[in-house]
Symmetry: C2
Subunit: 345 residues, 2 copies
DNA sequence: GGGTGCTACTGTATCGATCAAGTCACCTCC
DNA sequence: GGAGGTGACTTGATCGATACAGTAGCACCC
């Protein structure tokens, strides 16, 4: 720390003032070209790395960065196609305005999630898919910076981007009903962070869920089906988990003739397991996903399309453009493909 | 700016010193609980957002973040499966050490790319797939912070993670030769940022390429084939571009019986176009990719497997662990699938 | 009763820069 | 020859916090 080279070090070495050295970097027109050259040369000689960004930022007050926080480990989040699509939309928006993007880990329990929110040198926060009780949420609001929440939770007074979760789920369920399915089961991503998932759950667990989106989608399914059905909660939103769910549900009797999956990731895993069991999709078991990630179209998965990219762009817009609306709810649309309707393949 | 609330504002309002207010946040044990409560209450009342991270960072000197720069627009980079895999590996490493990740846009020409490197409040840089002459590179080295370059360019004295690009390409080419292919053509991603791609190129263009990886892969192909062949340069690394390349190459006479694509993205697009033209893969035209992204296995694409995740992890390790080796070259492996060998489907 | 130790604070320097307001020498021009 | 202008720097304040060295007040104890 003692040997650190600063503007002052350079200034002393050359017998000029701090400001002049600063100007050599930031306002070349303010000093004689020869002096500037001498300063830059001395800087190279002493190994001066240029004006310190931290100090510059403090002084200037500029915060040209946006923080994005996921509810999970980053390394997991970046494997989720829906999260990636959001990231893409958001970067489009931030990039256009010359903002950088800071990725924050949101994993619970370590205290790091709150710490990183408090420490982030940013001008705005985007929180993606957080459970209702996540501490980072309060921490972000406490920073008194623009905050936009994507998907969940929905808090009064907070900027929000979401989709018609319930309506989409209802449409999916009604589609199955119209096709004559009478035994339908549901697979959802985790409802709480207690890692007790991967099992069939009861109504109390659903009501106590901390994830708004899952609650809403389940509610939509039940509405569309005209009543409650068996729900399997997974521990994580990935194909393997959906596969385990399908395995458990196929063992029920009567065996469900259709599975409503609260995400495409779960649905894709479920289809694999169904086929591995020697059953046909949709002949023996129809499957519907949710989100319409790129792989869904490739796999011929019937799903509820949501504008993933658009969500990211809208998040960026709300964060970076002042005086916009507080809430954006984007429409969804049922996309019928081969996993429910052989004719649509 | 004038009305900004700081530690001092709070201190004055309560008749205590700045330091005491600071302690209320950072060292709760250093002051009486009642006073601390009073301070926090006053903070809430006045709307104090807590100690400013920029100031804190300047004072403490801590830089718990790593910057990741891509050579392209961020919104494009996050659509690239290889880049995402790197991101995943890198986040695993940074997360484990409690570091945040700052994504920097690397698009050329705007000056933003250098600016953002200079402004980044980070402790280390990871540069991914940059052309040899990219100005951000020098800017990052000038910061005198740890820098690790992934894939390209390879600079003497700089930390580097890469793979055996040339050997992998050679193995791919030799595989085709062993299968008896005599008319082989190559599709590569851009060799320079001048946006003159999407055309068949000559040897001079190849020699003048700014992207080391493409140069190496082409060299490997030529080695494995025992001589130079037609090379098509695309303007971007995405399936559509690979498709355009395939279209142009299929029009040659004699028509190539095999395409060597320098990335899976290009290969996947090429396969689509070949099939759309009513030709069979591999019957009429065999196709080999490079990278082995997740979609390659799904599509039955013969490709050169590289440890994408591992690359990211290694990058993180080199950045965050002191006294490690300067260079890591990871091995590659040819994975034969249906796109060259019907029996391997 | 004075030395010791502890709690609960305060004051000052510092982090590394930027900025507004000078200073000073030199030139110009009527 | 004096007013005014200009180019090339310097000075001092400031951004918002943290670190370190005090210090006041009080209890304790032989």
């Amino acid at each position: 720390m003692a040997g650190r080279i600063t503007l002052q070090t350079l200034a002393d070495a050359l017998g000029v003032s701090r400001t002049t050295v600063s100007n050599a970097y930031n306002r070349p027109d303010q000093l004689a070209p020869e002096l500037r050259a001498a300063i830059l040369e001395k800087a190279a000689e002493l190994g001066y790395a240029g004006p310190d960004p931290a100090a510059r930022r403090l002084r200037s007050g500029k915060r040209r960065a946006v923080a994005l926080m996921f509810s999970a480990r980053l390394s997991y989040a970046v494997t989720d196609p829906a999260a990636i699509a959001l990231l893409q939309g958001l970067t489009e928006a931030t990039e256009a305005k010359g903002y950088e993007l800071l990725l924050l880990p949101g994993q619970r329990g370590t205290g790091v999630e709150v710490e990183s929110v408090r420490e982030a040198v940013v001008g705005a926060f985007c929180l993606y898919c957080m459970p209702d009780d996540h501490p980072a949420l309060k921490a972000a609001l406490d920073r008194r910076l623009p905050v936009v929440v994507v998907d969940e939770p929905r808090l009064p007074g907070t900027f929000f981007i979401g989709i018609e979760d319930r309506a989409g789920a209802r449409a999916a369920a009604e589609h199955l009903r119209a096709l004559g399915h009478e035994h339908v089961a549901v697979i959802v991503d985790r409802l709480r962070d207690d890692r007790t998932g991967d099992r069939i759950i009861d109504a109390a667990r659903i009501a106590d869920g901390y994830y708004r989106v899952s609650r809403e989608r389940i509610a939509g399914y039940f509405e569309g089906l005209g009543g409650a059905v068996t729900v399997y909660e997974t521990i994580e939103n990935e194909p393997a988990a959906g596969g385990r769910g399908a395995e458990a549900l196929l063992a029920l009797s009567p065996r469900p003739t259709a599975l409503l999956c609260a995400s495409d990731q779960l649905a894709l895993g479920a289809i694999e397991v169904i086929r591995a069991a020697g059953l046909e999709v949709p002949g023996d078991v129809a499957v519907i996903g949710y989100d319409d990630v790129p792989d869904a179209a490739r796999a011929g998965l019937t799903t509820v399309h949501q504008p993933l990219l658009e969500k990211g762009r809208e998040a960026g817009r709300l964060l970076l453009e002042p005086n916009t609306e507080r809430e954006v709810i984007l429409p969804v649309e049922l996309v019928v493909r081969g996993s429910t309707d052989p004719a649509a393949a």
